[in-house]
């Protein structure tokens, strides 16, 4: 282990969109560890590099930065870390400054800023292949001479694309020489950049023709917006269509595992805990992993291609009107799979107000966990009939529920903006990088990271809550002369009865109230809980829903059904989302505010729905 501690530390540093992370993936492969920097929610990526020489290095992928004058948390981490000020992080032994060879005007300026720090460094001229393809001719030897630091060409997306870098690395680390800043006092870095470009680079034109052509179409007010709508539609189709077979497989696997464990363990509390608590509870959450992965495959590929910043460009004006920003688009898109990765994705929003607003409204996007609940209630209360030209009423209601979430989010952020009478300026200044073909390796590594984060959460907080809820639902046991179902005697049953005092005005009966409790862990569990409450012995959620439908159709009024549907648009009861909000904002107050406003909205909207429905004869 000592050797691992002693391995020289290399930090990859560079502008956003320089291909730094692709180079990091090429250097370290799967030997990566993703965590957070101490005290902040900036992602820290470290990997191990085994050089062909046999030497080992610890490689750190620093957050992208335009300048050492930090404008965001990400940039501040980068600034402090390379200067060796960051608490708990040793100063890197070598800075590998990654620059996009097709975007030298911007990136060389940052190289000069870094060189002024006087740390040992090396410049990786990345995307050297793309530069050659565009006819950009860079005199590497001259650039190295002018900069006074080693310069190597790399192609991060190609196997062997870092060979020059690896060959130089050993020598540079073995004989570190701090660079004396060659710039005389007062020289403008922009002027120096211009001089370097004139001396070392020849290029036929400033932009790629393909970017010009694509931007003409994709940013067009009409074609651009329609393309975005089609892309979004395809993503949602894929999330539901492609993931379903795998989800069915996971559900069948969980059921089989539960049945097997049920026969292996002696009947009793332990059997119940493992089968009904742990396996059913965690299985109900893991089943959403395929949907999350399909959604993220699209998001990662679109992000790498350079399209997502274009989407942000098209939507910025609309979102700014509601107190959000174009940058909020990506996190909110992720929230349709699950609010937790969405809330994590807000890290890319630099402006604190925009970030907070995005975090607070992310839970209003209809996450995939609400689908089973919607499916149950729509199936039970909304007749399946054609409204107009092949459009089904049930599908229309589902669409309306999604839309209600989106419009509520815009309304909430608009109210927050007005409430604070915020007159401050919240900048956009978003780079629209060149279009690129996404590299499958980088998408796969990104997916692997997402899957790990999700599974860790399942193993941690969701596991703990599942066990707790099982205890509430199972104890104390029913007396021997019980006349009511066992659940009536449990803690959860008593809580459910007590809750009707609050929820009766919404038309909720005590069975619904009980189902809301386990719904705290994961919303979809509400369906299987209702089934349990109605004393059904269903094996899995799907079977529960089928048998449950006639029961609630006959047992509940239409007003109750609609009220519960509306309740789940706001559905404040997801503890994992609260935990994510607490972690990302570092504030209990913000978390309480989010939970409070969602509860208030859910209560008011359900109350209104119930009473309007009753007044119209749906009681």
């Amino acid at each position: 282990m000592n050797a691992a501690v002693a391995a020289p530390r290399i930090a990859l540093v560079g502008n956003p969109n320089c291909g730094k992370t692709a180079l990091f993936n090429l250097l370290t492969g799967s030997r990566q560890k993703v965590a957070n920097y101490a005290g902040v929610t900036v992602e820290r990526k470290e990997g191990r590099l085994h050089a062909p020489s046999g030497k080992h290095y610890a490689v750190l992928d620093l957050p992208g930065a335009y300048s050492l004058n930090a404008a965001s948390l990400d940039e501040a981490v980068t600034r402090d870390l390379i200067r060796g000020f960051y608490p708990g992080e040793a100063a890197p032994d070598l800075l590998v400054c990654v620059v996009d060879a097709t975007n030298l005007r911007l990136h060389l300026r940052f190289v000069l800023e870094l060189r002024a720090l006087g740390k040992p460094m090396l410049v990786a001229l990345n995307m050297a292949d793309a530069a050659k393809k565009r006819g950009i001719d860079i005199d590497v030897a001259a650039l190295q001479r002018e900069l006074g630091v080693p310069v190597v060409e790399t192609v991060a997306v190609r196997r062997g694309g870092a060979d020059h870098l690896l060959a130089t690395l050993d020598a540079v680390v073995a004989h570190p020489h701090a660079v004396a800043d060659a710039l005389p006092e007062g020289t403008d870095v922009h002027a120096e950049t211009r001089r370097l470009l004139a001396a070392t680079v020849r290029m036929p034109e400033r932009t790629a023709k393909i970017d010009d052509a694509l931007d003409r179409w994709l940013l067009h007010p009409v074609f651009g917006l329609s393309t975005l709508a089609v892309v979004m539609f395809l993503i949602f189709q894929a999330v539901y269509a492609w993931a379903t077979p795998v989800m069915d497989l996971i559900e069948a696997g969980t059921t089989a595992l539960g049945a097997w464990a049920g026969t292996m363990l002696p009947a009793g509390p332990l059997n119940s805990l493992v089968v009904e608590g742990i396996i059913a509870g965690l299985g109900g959450v893991i089943v959403f992993l395929p949907q999350i992965l399909v959604l993220f495959a699209f998001i990662l590929a679109l992000e790498e291609s350079g399209y997502l910043p274009r989407a942000a460009f098209l939507l910025d004006r609309m979102m700014a009107g509601a107190g959000l920003s174009g940058r909020s688009f990506i996190p909110l898109l992720s929230s349709f799979a699950c609010a937790i990765p969405g809330i994590m994705a807000t890290r890319s929003i630099q402006d604190p107000r925009d970030r907070l607003a995005t975090i607070l409204v992310a839970p209003l996007m209809t996450c995939s966990a609400r689908l089973p609940v919607y499916a149950l209630l729509i199936g039970a209360f909304i007749p399946s009939r054609e409204v107009w030209a092949g459009i089904n009423l049930q599908g229309l209601v589902l669409f309306a529920l999604y839309m209600a979430g989106i419009f509520s989010a815009l309304a909430v952020s608009w109210v927050m903006k007005k409430w604070r009478r915020d007159k401050g300026e919240h900048p956009l200044m978003l780079e629209l990088p060149s279009y690129r073909l996404p590299n499958p390796r980088d998408v796969l590594i990104g997916l692997w990271e997402r899957a790990l984060i999700f599974l860790k959460r399942v193993g941690g907080i969701i596991f703990a809550l599942t066990v707790l809820l099982w205890v509430l639902l199972s104890f104390p046991a029913a007396p021997v002369d019980a006349t009511m179902p066992a659940i009536d005697y449990s803690f959860a049953g008593r809580i459910g009865h007590a809750m009707t005092a609050v929820f009766a005005p919404l038309g909720f009966n005590w069975q619904i109230c009980i189902a809301l409790i386990p719904g705290l862990a994961a919303r979809e569990v509400a369906v299987s809980s209702l089934a349990t409450v109605y004393a059904l012995s269903a094996v899995d959620d799907e079977a529960a829903a089928q048998a449950l439908t006639p029961l609630i159709t006959n047992g509940w009024s239409l007003a109750t059904g609609l009220s519960l549907l509306v309740w789940f648009i706001y559905a404040p009861q997801c503890l994992a989302t609260w935990a994510a909000i607490k972690r990302e904002t570092g504030s209990w107050k913000t978390m309480a505010m989010a939970a409070g406003y969602l509860f208030a909205l859910a209560y008011l909207a359900s109350f209104a729905t119930y009473h309007v429905a009753v007044a119209l004869g749906g009681g």
Binding site: N69, D215, P221, A312, P427, M429, L432
Partner: protein, 82 residues
């Protein structure tokens, strides 16, 4: 003339970025992104609503700037001036 008044796809030369407040962080970031005296800029496109934001090319890079941000960038008039 400022960047917001520039016609679409007409190249112009940056004169300076003006601070709106003392030590304006947005103006400083614009300079760091390459909006400095002598650089050529082009407004490539504008957003679908209210021509907001603007897509501005400076050097080899394209940035989406809101109009209030772009208004800080003062342009040289037809190659004359500083």
């Amino acid at each position: 003339m400022t960047l917001t008044e520039l016609a679409r796809r007409t190249p112009a030369i940056v004169d300076a970025v003006e601070d709106r407040t003392p030590n304006d962080p947005i103006a400083r970031r614009l300079r760091e992104l390459g909006f400095v005296a002598g650089e050529e800029v082009v407004v490539v496109a504008a957003g679908p609503l209210g021509a907001e934001p603007l897509l501005v090319q400076v050097g080899f890079t394209r940035f989406a700037l809101r109009r209030v941000e772009a208004a800080r960038v003062r342009l040289r008039s037809n190659g004359a001036g500083a």
